[in-house]
């Protein structure tokens, strides 16, 4: 009997992140007279979190290796501007081809910048914080330079679908925004890679104990390089989607995204010290932050207070997670 209770407690503790999310959803639903759970609003929240959540999966992999990437926001801006320039130049020819070329440009450019950060981190033993801080500044400056500080407009109108369109609209109506579909696909790919591939296990091993990983024959450098390349490529994908959201390539967007993304990862239970983290946790972490942002707006909370509340909740979530984890360890 006692054993069964302990088992139950352990099960509940393991599911703490969803529980926190559900508790949050219940409370904001009550506080907004049900406005929060209107179908259109739920779709809205999902679409709002989809951009940063998509990047957060890449960031999770980086943080699991014990690294960090501050350049993600700037990379979204840079790849978005680059894609917009390509799409504008080729748009008259064929919109479909233009979007394909724009997307390719964005992903390759994002992956390329990620690769540069990754090489320096893996081979030169410089802290990722500094490397990616430099990449953040360079990418932001390059984005502004590429378009002279002015947003790139004149994109083919089909681009709008990428940011604001719905998938299977004929069958299920306006319920699955395209960026949300992309978020789910990226989630599935990253979750599979982390849990079911040799590379994924290498990533965790490098983060848990780099020396041990090296001694057991894992290519530490390769694992470190690849997580930055993947994250850069994902940023490129989001840069393309972002062009669709605003119908322009804007060099000023995604300011401070790196912090929101890192917050989602950490609220989702990934350790900043590396070695521990899940993609599902990150998805839930992103949702917690998205739900909060949305609920504060629905409740008409004063703008300045929103920052205070958001900060307090992130801290509370982190504390609750830490407390529950201690409890979890004790029940084992």
């Amino acid at each position: 009997m006692k054993k069964q209770t302990a088992f139950l407690v352990r099960r509940l503790l393991a599911a703490r992140m969803p529980v926190i999310l559900v508790a949050l959803i219940i409370s904001v639903t009550l506080m907004t007279d049900g406005q929060f759970v209107q179908f259109a609003n739920i779709v809205n929240v999902l679409r709002q979190v989809s951009f940063e959540a998509t990047i957060a999966f890449g960031m999770t992999a980086i943080i699991i290796t014990g690294g960090i990437d501050l350049s993600v926001g700037s990379l979204v801006a840079l790849t978005g501007v680059a894609a917009a320039l390509v799409m504008r130049a080729t748009g008259d020819f064929s919109p479909g081809l233009a979007i394909a070329l724009g997307g390719l440009t964005a992903v390759v450019l994002g992956g390329g910048v990620g690769a540069m950060s990754g090489v320096v981190v893996a081979w030169c033993a410089i802290p990722p914080f500094i490397v990616t801080l430099a990449a953040m500044l360079i990418a932001r400056g390059a984005a502004l330079l590429l378009c002279n500080g002015q947003p790139v407009d004149g994109l083919p109108e089909q681009v709008l679908f990428l940011g604001r369109g719905f998938v299977f609209e004929d069958v299920i109506g306006k319920s699955l925004p395209f960026p949300v579909l992309i978020m789910l696909i990226v989630y599935a790919l990253f979750a599979f890679t982390l849990n079911r591939t040799v590379f994924g296990r290498d990533v965790v091993a490098v983060g848990s104990n780099e020396e041990a990983a090296r001694l057991s024959g894992i290519s530490v450098r390769r694992a470190k390089l690849l997580v930055y390349v993947l994250t850069g490529a994902v940023c490129g994908l989001v840069g393309l989607l972002h062009d669709g959201k605003l119908n322009v390539g804007d060099p000023k967007v995604a300011e401070m995204w790196e912090l929101n993304v890192i917050a989602a990862v950490v609220v989702g239970g990934t350790s900043l010290f590396g070695g521990r983290g899940t993609m599902t946790g990150t998805l839930i972490g992103a949702l917690i932050i998205g739900v909060l942002n949305n609920a504060l707006n629905l409740m008409h909370v004063e703008h300045f207070w929103q920052k205070v509340v958001l900060g307090a909740v992130i801290l509370t979530a982190a504390l609750a997670d830490a407390g529950l984890r201690t409890l979890e360890r004790k029940t084992e």
Partner: protein
């Protein structure tokens, strides 16, 4: 497996909640009409005044205001508009973070038949329809700023501009300013640098400019936060006697500095009036009265002389 369990738990709760909430959906449709507002920022005095104008007029006409601020992020502004659409507000007031990027958000509101009115900053996007635009005549304001600089430093000298070129209203000011100064062959514009309208940034940029140009005579700062930042740097360098500042907006703090002679003068906008006129325009649109495409609001100037003339000598 455990992850699947967790997710299905979340899904189950979400469904449960949705089924519970069906009854409450209609109760949110109130009698008072709601206006959603998304401002460029709430950190500038100008926007705080504009907001005060919006709020007092809204209270007078019986509208409920939901005021948000996008803090310079066009994507966040688009999200805020999406939220307004879900909340089924009756009208949306925007001060676009970016004149071009704002188009998709306006289009989304158009598609939900919610009228959009812009205040202070116009939409230049090719998509989306705005009912009317309420703003200061900024080109005229820029010309007035040039007049003030000429008054302050005389017919010859070297000056710099602290700009924020991404914002249309600011580029209009600089345009008017340069236009007027092009008729002054002996006044040279050494540089136009962006301080993004922020005080700390302006102080840093000004420090560098002071270092680079020991013979500088004047600064045109495109808003008062920039002017006050520049003032801090000029005071610290001990060059206030040689460098005259002209600002824009006429905030309380800037007025103090103008009265004490630290800032030469300001072009003043009437943000409260812009706010009040904006709500007036919303009211007209919602009650079916025609409004013009643009509703300009007059600008003026203040200097120590004019301030003391109104209030009486200090």
């Amino acid at each position: 497996m455990r992850n699947v369990l967790r997710l299905s738990l979340v899904a189950a709760f979400a469904l449960l909640l949705q089924s519970c909430s069906v009854g409450t959906d209609e109760s949110t449709a109130g009698e008072t009409r709601t206006i959603g507002v998304s401002l460029l920022t709430m950190q500038h005095q100008f926007y705080q005044d504009l907001r005060a104008g919006l709020e007092s007029k809204a209270a007078e006409l019986g509208y409920e205001l939901v005021v948000t601020s996008a803090e310079f992020d066009p994507a966040r502004q688009a999200d805020q508009v999406d939220n307004f659409i879900v909340q089924s507000v009756d009208a949306i007031v925007l001060s676009p973070c970016d004149s071009r990027s704002v188009g998709t958000a306006i289009l989304a509101a158009n598609e939900s038949n919610i009228p959009v009115i812009t205040a202070d900053i116009a939409s230049l996007s090719t998509i989306g329809k705005v009912q009317t635009h309420i703003a200061s005549d900024n080109v005229a304001g820029g010309r007035l700023a040039a007049e003030l600089i000429i008054e302050a430093i005389g017919p010859r000298g070297k000056i710099v501009i602290l700009s924020h070129p991404e914002v249309t209203s600011v580029s209009d000011r600089v345009k008017g300013f340069r236009e007027r100064l092009s008729r002054e062959p002996d006044i040279t514009i050494l540089a136009e640098l962006s301080a993004e309208g922020m005080r700390d940034k302006a102080a840093k940029v000004m420090e560098d400019l002071l270092q680079a140009h020991p013979d500088l005579n004047g600064v045109f700062a495109i808003n008062d936060d920039s002017a006050l930042g520049a003032l801090a740097a000029i005071e610290a360098a001990g060059r206030l006697d040689n460098v005259s500042i002209v600002g824009y907006d006429g905030t309380m703090e800037a007025r103090e500095k103008i009265r004490s002679g630290a800032i030469y003068g300001d072009v003043i906008q009437h943000p409260k009036q812009i706010g009040a006129l904006t709500i007036d325009a919303v009211h007209k649109v919602l009650t079916g009265v025609n409004v013009p495409e643009v509703m300009p609001v007059e600008v003026g100037t203040i200097t120590a002389d004019s301030l003391n003339a109104i209030i009486g000598a200090p």
